[in-house]
């Protein structure tokens, strides 16, 4: 049930009157303050002359789904095929390769005994991309995917490295990518947040990496741009449900009364914030309908559900979150950050790696296929990747197969992108023979971020926000667009 027509007209009327009044009087009319929160659809920064109006050029991507693999997936066990390492098994990696670079305290200063890939590799698709045998479904989408095998970062521990990827700075406090986009481009969907976050973890709970809220924080941007965390149990959005015993029609009655009284106040007092308040309460009411609609999977055919794998029915699983990401993309949500923890295999590569592959392979691949068959992949960018890779040398004791693992490795690792504006079926950049350092076309985290921004029609150097006297941007003062991956 909506506001009765006359009420709606009144509401509009009083709001527009106030707005017209102030805009008529001055370019910096009082209405502009409240408008900032009303016209979310347009994005705050779009009107800002300071950054040249957004988008800066025609975007290829309208929205992003970032499958963030917390913990650091092992690049050379998954995508970065190095058969020649077999000859070095158990032997020290030459110093000319490792250069005594910093590792985490777990392996710093210890031996660097070569550990080749854990499982077999095959070539797939027309593109002939190498994929490990534990990822049969991902192998099916390689012709839609662009692998970047020369990613590198400067952070060697989880929280700073994840923060770096998502915010461009290693310390908490800067806006995350989704917040920048919400701020800059606004939302294409008026009854769901522009920036949604979902998290999952491995079933065995082998991984201890927590999800800190600064991974989706808005930093110095207005806090309404922070990611809205959809919960893995109970109501997906905090306080979305009416209290027990309050039906939707009672709530409507209550909100109608509330709107009427607020409107009287607006007429009497003239503060445009009141108009904004009325609008936000209406939006809240709409969200109360749209969120249950979003999470109601009864309209999904069985073959689609099956594609995402058996976990798709379990709220809070990676599979469920991937399906939800597609449903959010359909509804126009700008940035969906799906984080999955379970890749930190220091001592349990032998036991956990295969399980992680199994649990994430089908859902990630299904997401790409599902978007594609709906024509959504054309303007949706899908990203898969962790905060760093894992060492080409082993952590632990080579004779104890049950406790083999790899330490964090920031110097080179692999991520993939698919969809909007990304060249499909290619591999960009290479690592050296030990998958230790980039051998060609290194891509730094800031380059990666600049490229994502570019796909969304944004010049990362111009998209800034003034805070503490400085023009801040996602890419700090670095980064250049990786042109080779653009279609």
């Amino acid at each position: 049930m909506r506001l009765r027509k006359t009420e709606e007209d009144n509401l509009d009327h009083s709001f527009h009157q106030t707005r017209r009044h102030f805009f008529g009087k001055s370019a910096l009319g009082i209405g502009s303050l409240a408008l900032g929160s009303l016209l979310e659809r347009q994005g705050h920064a779009m009107q800002s002359p300071e950054i040249g109006g957004l988008p800066h050029f025609a975007p290829k991507a309208k929205r992003v789904i970032y499958l963030f693999m917390n913990g650091g997936p092992p690049h050379l066990d998954m995508f970065d095929h190095k058969p020649q390492m077999e000859k070095w098994r158990g032997k020290e990696i030459p110093e000319s390769v490792h250069g005594n670079k910093r590792q985490s305290t777990m392996t710093q200063g210890k031996g660097k005994s070569t550990l080749p890939a854990f499982t077999g590799f095959k070539r797939h698709g027309r593109s002939g991309a190498w994929v490990c045998d534990f990822l049969p479904r991902t192998a099916e989408i390689v012709d839609d995917v662009c692998f970047i095998k020369s990613m590198h970062t400067t952070q060697v521990n989880h929280a700073p490295a994840i923060t770096f990827f998502l915010t461009g700075g290693e310390q908490p406090g800067r806006p995350s990518m989704g917040s920048w986009l919400s701020y800059g481009l606004g939302s294409e969907c008026e009854d769901l947040p522009a920036f949604v976050v979902m998290t999952s973890r491995d079933k065995e709970a082998s991984c201890g990496q927590l999800f800190y809220d600064f991974y989706w924080g808005s930093g110095f941007l207005p806090s309404r741009h922070q990611g809205v965390k959809f919960r893995g149990n109970g109501d997906p959005v905090l306080y979305i449900a009416n209290p027990d015993g309050m039906s939707r029609s009672v709530r409507r009655t209550m909100l109608d009364g509330l709107a009427e009284l607020n409107q009287q106040k607006l007429h009497d007092f003239g503060d445009p914030e009141i108009a904004a308040r009325i609008a936000q309460y209406e939006m809240a009411y709409k969200m109360q309908a749209s969120v249950p609609d979003l999470t109601d999977l009864s309209d999904e055919p069985k073959h689609i559900l099956d594609m995402y794998g058996p976990d798709v029915h379990r709220q809070g699983s990676f599979a469920y979150n991937c399906l939800m990401a597609r449903r959010l993309a359909e509804r126009g949500v700008r940035f969906t950050q799906v984080m999955h923890a379970g890749w930190d295999h220091h001592r349990n590569l032998s036991t956990q790696f295969e399980i992680q592959c199994r649990d994430t392979d089908a859902p990630a691949a299904a997401l790409v296929k599902d978007l594609k068959q709906r024509g959504l992949l054309e303007d949706t960018l899908v990203i898969w990747g962790g905060e760093f890779g894992r060492t080409p040398f082993l952590q632990g004791d080579v004779t104890n197969l049950k406790q083999l693992g790899r330490d964090h490795h920031p110097y080179v690792f692999t991520t993939w992108m698919a969809g909007a504006g990304v060249k499909p079926g290619i591999s960009h950049g290479e690592s050296d023979d030990f998958a230790y350092n980039p051998a060609s076309h290194p891509v730094h985290v800031h380059d990666f971020q600049a490229t994502i921004m570019h796909l969304l029609g944004i010049d990362h150097e111009k998209f800034t926000f003034r805070f503490q006297g400085r023009q801040f941007r996602l890419t700090d003062v670095h980064g250049s667009v990786v042109k080779n991956v653009l279609s």
């Binding site: 209405g31 927590l210 149990n233 109970g234 027990d244 503060d271 914030e273 800034t464």
Partner: protein, 838 residues
């Protein structure tokens, strides 16, 4: 700038003429010129030697006026001869300044202004906030009249308004006034009786307002209200943050702050105790406790972290917090390089860091009670901990006995020499090699995960062990110990400049503790330790502390500071419209012994504060920076909850003590901590305490708080946004629903309220200190009628609604009626006027 471009003088002149009519007065350096230079030039021609181009500085007068290759960047008196003019006006992309690639642009008007300033002699000056605070003369010459209507503050505000041809608003109604000032000074709304008393006496005698202000300032609620911003600024929380997110017991410090605020401890003393209480002669326990301020930072317990890396990070946090809170300076960038805009160098940064580099803190340890600590334990806490340990020891023996059977091995051999030693994953390290009582929660969880569905009996035994370990950890962790400051006996550590701020990249440049060189040195006789730093911060000559502090109080009351950038008083910060007012308040604050209550009283007694906040039809000042009306803004979320509790009568007023756990949706902590940390809501009065006592878990803050600092790092300015998610919180969070239900009960049970109309009056009086208008009553009555009809049709639903919240409900009431009124009260609690301070 390299090379010269020959520009005929007439070109420049023509360009300037084209730029618009010139005003008679040459620009003021600090007000008009410096901001342009800072924004557009200093990035490459400023303080930071690393970033400096063409070896040219424009931030220092001598450099800017010194000839380079025969050309003067600024030739005083001759804009046509000034290289910077030529460069700004150039159309050659290789020559024009700022370069196109910089995304900076100087407008024609700005160039023209600089030209006039140069022609008038290019008189240099100093950034306003870096000059000593001098008390300005009162604005205007209306002395007597101002006194009657308000106070000194108004003389400044009205003069500015007159300049702009604007007039102040009329005073707010007495009802609005008492609600506004009571919310501002105590964080809670006035009661209807207080409103009635005040309005009647105020009409007879306006001095009643002063009596009201004095009463509020003396209320113990005052400290509970004003502690909030200090907790945000000092990144106070009940846990460490990061992995593990261990609890800490810093609340005695929080209670000390409340007490200090209520006692009106002078702000200079308040400062000194918190930065260096331990260094005062014969420091008392209280003075040492105050220094917990410095140690409120996060602690990183992530595996793989290097302790020294942690330690350096803590030092950075401490130095930057002090710089932001007291100096309004953004020093973070000087970790790695000299400041681009402000006269702060990397050396200044590490000089400040050095003050904190003398404690035994070594970056080790994940607990929330890492040394140095102050023991604030009670015998009861010690006994509880001892009991929990004893219980654990007993269970440990049972586990040992079970494991002896489960993992048979020859007598005298350890567990790791049995089959247990061959378990996968971390189990060898966390189970086989560790006696049961020494095992950790993580280790036991892993074991339970592994043996699930393999050996139910063993899982049951391990589960008991887990519970006992958790109970022991909780009991031990809740022995109150507060992390405080203390310097090492062997003296401070050496402090080196760190390349790019990296702990493992020290340069050879060693620094000792020092205050930023730009400002006056330490006061005579001040020691070169934290105590000296504190004395320097509160010295009369320090240009920043008082301005920054006064501005923060103004910000809390008006929603926006006199300087909007409360966190940045540097060159890039906002230059205040009401600069004289700020300086007057700052000087007056210092002259009167840093007396905070006196400052607040002066502000709220001003006519400016007491104006109506109605938006005038011809207003062109959207942010109300000129202060032609009173402030009107949505209250911070913590106050919304407190207000609802107070209106309903549920509020449990009790000062201090450990944090409490009000309602929170199930699974929030569990999801954030992967099930390791469970949230158990409190009971009884714990559910209804003021929000400041709510347990603050740093990895996931209280769910009903929005638009607030995250308490992860220092924050001195809270955001204020308006989203549907906020509406959902105040509509559906159980505290608000319960408050509505209890408020409804209050209205329905009050024998003095004979009909609905009387109840509407009462509800409005409680929530907004006024009665509803006739039109509002119509709407309320129509809405209530529909709500009644709705609940009469669905009596079961009515009962469900009334069962929200833990407090007992009055079952004598008709449930449909009670539910309808509950919904109506929830509506009232969500009115814009109730959410706002008007």
């Amino acid at each position: 700038m390299k090379g010269r471009i020959a520009f005929p003088f007439s070109v420049i002149t023509a360009a300037l003429i084209a730029a618009g009519p010139s005003r008679a007065e040459p620009a003021n350096f600090s007000r008009e010129i410096l901001p342009i230079l800072s924004e557009n030039c200093f990035h490459c021609h400023g303080q930071d030697a690393q970033a400096r181009k063409a070896d040219l500085r424009l931030d220092i007068e001598a450099d800017a006026k010194k000839a380079v290759d025969g050309a003067f960047p600024i030739a005083a008196g001759k804009s046509g001869m000034s290289e910077i003019m030529k460069r700004m006006l150039s159309t050659d992309p290789d020559e024009v300044m700022p370069p196109p690639k910089s995304n900076r642009k100087v407008t024609r008007e700005q160039i023209s202004m600089i030209g006039r300033w140069i022609d008038a002699g290019a008189k240099w000056g100093e950034h306003w906030a870096f000059t000593r605070v001098e008390k300005p003369k009162l604005g205007g010459d209306e002395g007597g009249r101002i006194k009657e209507e308000g106070n000194e503050i108004d003389s400044f505000v009205r003069m500015k308004l007159a300049e702009k041809g604007m007039k102040p608003s009329p005073p707010a109604s007495p009802e609005t006034l008492i609600r506004r000032v009571t919310l501002d000074l105590t964080g809670l709304p006035p009661t209807p009786d207080e409103v009635a008393d005040f309005t009647s006496s105020y009409r007879l005698q306006p001095s009643a307002f002063e009596a009201l202000v004095d009463r509020l300032l003396a209320s113990p609620r005052y400290g509970e209200r004003w502690v909030w911003e200090w907790l945000d600024a000092s990144r106070y929380a009940d846990t460490n943050g990061y992995q593990g997110d261990n609890d800490r017991t810093a609340w005695p410090w929080r209670d000390w702050v409340i007490e200090a605020i209520n006692d009106n401890m002078p702000y200079d003393k308040f400062t000194t105790w918190q930065l260096a209480g331990d260094l005062l002669p014969n420091a008392t326990k209280e003075q040492k406790l105050a220094t917990a301020f410095v140690r409120n930072h996060m602690i990183n317990g992530e595996g793989g972290r290097i302790p020294e890396e942690n330690r350096i990070e803590y030092l950075f946090d401490q130095a930057e917090t002090v710089a932001t809170v007291w100096l309004g300076l953004t020093m973070q960038c000087t970790r790695c390089h000299d400041h681009k805009f402000d006269p702060l160098t990397m050396k200044d940064y590490y000089g400040l860091v050095a003050y904190f580099n003398g404690t035994p803190v070594d970056g080790q340890g994940r607990g929330g009670q890492t040394a140095p600590i102050l023991d604030m334990s009670t015998p009861a806490e010690e006994a509880r901990s001892q009991q929990a340990q004893t219980a654990l020891n007993q269970i440990g023996k049972n586990v040992e006995a079970f494991e002896l059977k489960k993992f048979p091995r020859p007598a005298g051999k350890g567990l790791e020499e049995s089959e247990a030693g061959k378990l996968p994953g971390n189990l060898t390290a966390t189970l086989a090699k560790v006696a049961p009582v020494k095992r950790t929660v993580d280790g036991i969880l892993e074991a339970i995960g592994y043996f699930k569905e393999k050996d139910d009996a063993y899982v049951a035994v391990l589960q008991k062990l887990l519970d006992a370990v958790r109970r022991r950890d909780t009991a031990k962790g809740s022995i109150t110990r507060v992390m405080v400051m203390e310097d090492r006996k062997e003296g401070p550590r050496d402090t080196f400049l760190l390349m790019k701020g990296a702990y493992d990249a020290p340069t050879t440049t060693k620094v000792t503790s020092a205050t930023p060189g730009k400002f006056s040195p330490l006061p005579a006789g001040a020691p070169r330790n934290r105590l000296g730093l504190a004395q320097w911060i509160v010295a009369r000559d320090n240009p920043l502390t008082a301005r920054v502090t006064v501005n923060r109080y103004w910000q809390s009351l008006f929603g926006i500071g006199l300087v909007k950038t409360a966190e940045d008083f540097g060159v890039q910060g906002e230059r205040p419209v009401h600069m004289d007012l700020l300086d007057y308040l700052a000087a007056d604050f210092m002259e009167h012994g840093w007396d905070v209550k006196r400052l607040l009283k002066m502000i709220v007694m001003s006519g400016t504060y007491r104006q109506s906040s109605r938006v005038n039809g011809s207003d062109t000042d959207p942010e109300n920076r000129l202060l032609a009306r009173g402030a009107r803004f949505r209250q911070p979320s913590f106050m919304l909850r407190d207000q609802a509790l107070a209106i309903s009568g549920l509020l449990a007023e009790k000062t201090g003590g450990p944090a409490v756990k009000p309602y929170q949706p199930e699974g929030i902590w569990e999801e954030a901590s992967f099930g390791k940390i469970k949230y158990t809501p409190g009971t009884g009065s714990d559910l209804y305490r003021r929000s400041l006592y709510t347990f603050w878990r740093r990895i996931v803050g209280p769910t009903m708080v929005f638009d607030n600092a995250t308490r992860q790092t220092c924050a001195v300015k809270a955001g204020r946004t308006n989203t549907p998610l906020h509406a959902l919180t105040t509509l559906n969070e159980p505290t608000f629903v319960e408050c509505a239900r209890v408020l409804a009960e209050r209205l329905l049970e009050d024998a003095a309220l004979s009909d609905d109309a009387a109840r509407f009056d009462r509800a409005y009086s409680l929530a907004m200190a006024r009665k509803p208008t006739a039109k509002e009553k119509e709407t309320l009555a129509a809405t209530l009628g529909k709500l009644r009809a709705g609940f009469m049709r669905t009596p079961d639903e009515a009962v469900k609604l009334l069962e929200v919240g833990a407090s007992p409900r009055e079952t004598k009431l008709n449930t449909a009626e009670h539910a309808a009124w509950t919904s109506l009260c929830l509506l009232v609690l969500n009115l814009d006027e109730v959410l706002s301070k008007e």
